[in-house]
Symmetry: D2
Subunit: 306 residues, 4 copies
């Protein structure tokens, strides 16, 4: 576990809220580093624990490897040194994941977030996934965070694989975007001797995740409503559950709108409304049509955010 | 809303824990009313809010209509008068559900639990479901509780249908066995002006459900570990979340074993271990094989219950 | 296998086309036996092999047991003696299925169609299903036809269960509404020593089913376009595949409209257009709205049937 | 449609059988071009219409872009000039797909096979997919074949998108690995004025696909049993359906074994048995264990192929 320890010999503490930052593009769909800088400056004012770069909301499957690394470098340079930079480095093959992980560490990532490979989903059983993540964790210079996002991959990271992998000294946690709160509680329970840290993968169940023992969240909605989400986290960690519930409930519909219902184009549209640079997605993702835009606005407005 | 009020003019308070009781059978698969009495006497000592009769764990699809009603009559006679008797009266057709609802009320049910019809699942959209439940609630002498159990029905009761139905004066709540904690929180949020009561449909997410605003639970596991589940409920309602979490976590695997993983035959097997009468299921449900029995035992033992 | 043999000692020959007849209701949703008679007289003029009564399109889950039996009696009385009457007798429990099977045989059914029980789908593995169907077949006076309809039941009858059950002397075939043509071909292949007969459960893949070795079809669309479907069957059995293909292709959209897309209400609406009595469904099934009605009409008209 | 025409001004004829060739690796998981050559020499003796390079069975998601292009170059150099080389060029983003398509054409591909992007599956509706494929087809020097493989992508290419895209002059066909024979028949029907060519994406339904109007197949099993599959195609095109059926039925289980059941590792294992170079897969795909290997052998042996 040496590598999962900080220079002070302490295991990396993941607790807190992270936005999985969006990648701004120019109208010609090139990465727009200026707009990215703009967003980073604004995020620096919010009490995030850190930033996740190249999560699903960063459109990482649409970036070249060079772009993925370059974005991480730019973020590292711009963000406060005391905040964590978690970089997505998952690819389909183990060898490509190992290579990209090394590049992300070199680019300044404090930890990597590694998604389950999923193309050959019928063959990605516990055995294959344990071997994949173990090889990557063995070879990584920085701690590894497992990443399960069934809505995109069509694959759940099985409980027994998580429990097994939690024992690896260089695997420090899990971002769980599946949202099965029962399983999440069971993961916390069965890894309690491992100092394994669970992060909610969505703002919709952030409070419930804290309730069952998660330590934080990586929430698309934090790109837009970062401050309220940090407030929600603090209410949960300080035991003010009634106030937490009230706030949580107002966040569910805006969150669903920018994730499950309308996706990254909605996330970017709402970012524009809240003073961030969202803008276009890369094709084949398309901008919202008028009706979708109105629906998005309603989901924020009816909950008092617009 | 007159009918949803008690004789004292107060809306029926559903808050608390309920076992959806199992139906004991003789070796020849006839209903064993003596064993049922035995179980009821034991349940009377546990601080349940009431009993649910003819939930999924009662093998109601395997009972004749006569048996369904007779079991309710027997339970009414045996159970303490101050406890609620909630009877399942859902059928595929609206007319059959109306008829059975009337019989259940006459048999002494305080409320009916009405499952989503599901055979023609492709046609059971919000419109059809709202109309079905509205007609049944209109015609029912006792308050109606909606029942969504996708693992059996292959159908989610849609959010907008729940919100719409929550406005019906004779519909007092929802038993949600789906377990999507985000949706559950949103239901609480969007029905907050209706005094609509959400019950968790499984012990696996009982604490999380309380956390997001549910008022109780109908939990298969309460057939076996009723006392600990009532303890869990009290810990949640009194804000002792740390202790609640510890207890909740030890209940997840036993609960999964008697529901999702091994089903009603496991529920009945474990009931036998804990001093209740479980026994055989009706065919085509089959008893556990040796390996399954061992797995079941492990799931209780490894969490300190055996 | 004595019971599966006709009085002449020949195994029951299922080959041919069957409409799974709809059940007409009055405006008050009672069974309308007069309209049923009307339809039966018209069906008598079409070269069907027989009729299926109480298939999914007959709304059998919405009928009482008495109604289910009564409809079979009326059909038996009205239909030509040389045509087969296949009656649906499947229930959730084995004991109820056995009882209804006996009643259907007494009511004049030549064979029974037994759907997979499905409420406890997680427990309905091959073992449970083989035992269920074996007990029913053992106790039945008439031959049994297996019935797999995943769109309604959420359950596939597994291949190994079909192969095992094909060896039972009183199980003569399978109505497969799943439509996986690869599995259908494999069933034909692996039961070829058993004289086991496969019937396509939908008009959409009738030709393909014949191509891989099925002997006929039970097709909702035969309630409306019975003559063309009998033509299609004859083209297939006489090897005129080019003509068959042309006819088959014109039947796919009308078939999809009255099954997967718009369901039984569409089937009944289209029956009205073609001179049969369709009428209303029992609630909670609802009539088509105007837009759906237009879509239905288009699906028939654009293929030259209206 | 000029680009979809050959130099002789004739639309590219796709009819026939293609193996989607496997990519051999060394023990260290590097591409083994010598073994590839060996396989190509053997495939040259089989009456294939051509080869598909970088289909799902080629482990393309595990290859770098450089490797993908290099493999195509090598295949082009080795294979007979009169056979078609179809190269997979699908990526998640439209821009990456355009770039890789250009490289594949430059490397000698006669046509490209473009899979549905799938990571943001919730947003990949007809509109987005039509736009994606249209842009790629607009920019491609060679004809484009649509590729739908739901088992890997979790996404069906919708019928209306196929019909719309069939009108594009540079889109010549569809490889459909979904296997819904009803939809396949409907696609043939609704594109009949477009000279749009449908290829079955699996050997399990090759005969049924021919029956409903497909013109050939891209079949994993052709890596192993290429000759019998070409025989099957000829029996279908010459109308000898009885013989075709007998042969087809013996191919279903071997095909299922090397695709759905046991995947690419089984395909490669069986290739080794039949004189081709299969060998290891790239990690995280793992070799078969002993039990799986025996199952694989049984599926070939019990059908007379071993």
């Amino acid at each position: 576990g040496a590598r999962a320890l900080t220079s002070a010999g302490v295991r990396l503490d993941l607790s807190g809220v992270y936005p999985p930052i969006a990648t701004p593009f120019t109208e010609r769909e090139d990465v727009d580093y200026d707009k990215l800088e703009h967003n980073l400056r604004k995020y620096a004012e919010i009490p995030f624990k850190g930033l996740v770069v190249q999560g699903s909301n960063g459109e990482y499957p649409y970036l070249t490897e060079e772009e993925r690394v370059e974005v991480v470098k730019r973020v590292r340079r711009s963000m406060p040194a005391d905040k964590l930079l978690i970089a997505g480095s998952g690819c389909e093959s183990t060898r490509a994941t190992l290579e990209l992980t090394a590049k992300m560490a070199a680019a300044g990532a404090d930890a990597v977030l590694v998604v389950t490979p999923c193309f050959y989903k019928g063959k990605m059983d516990s055995h294959a996934l344990v071997q994949h993540f173990t090889k990557v964790a063995d070879g990584s210079e920085v701690p590894l965070i497992l990443y399960s996002v069934p809505a995109n991959t069509g694959l759940e990271l099985p409980l027994d694989a998580v429990v097994r992998l939690s024992q690896h000294p260089n695997i420090v946690g899990l971002k769980d975007s599946g949202g099965d709160i029962t399983t999440m509680g069971l993961i916390v329970h069965k890894t309690k001797d491992q100092d394994f840290q669970v992060l909610a993968g969505s703002a919709g169940f952030l409070m419930a995740a804290y309730c069952v023992g998660a330590v934080g969240g990586v929430c698309a909605l934090a790109n837009i409503l970062g401050k309220p989400l940090c407030d929600l986290a603090r209410l949960c960690t300080s035991g003010r559950w009634e106030q937490a519930r009230e706030l949580q409930q107002r966040l569910i519909e805006p969150n669903a709108a920018v994730t499950r219902k309308l996706g990254v184009p909605a996330l970017k549209q709402a970012m524009d409304w809240f003073g961030f640079h969202g803008g276009v997605c890369r094709s084949p993702l398309r901008p919202l049509d008028q009706e979708q835009t109105q629906q998005l606005r309603r989901d924020f407005a009816s909950n008092g955010w617009l």
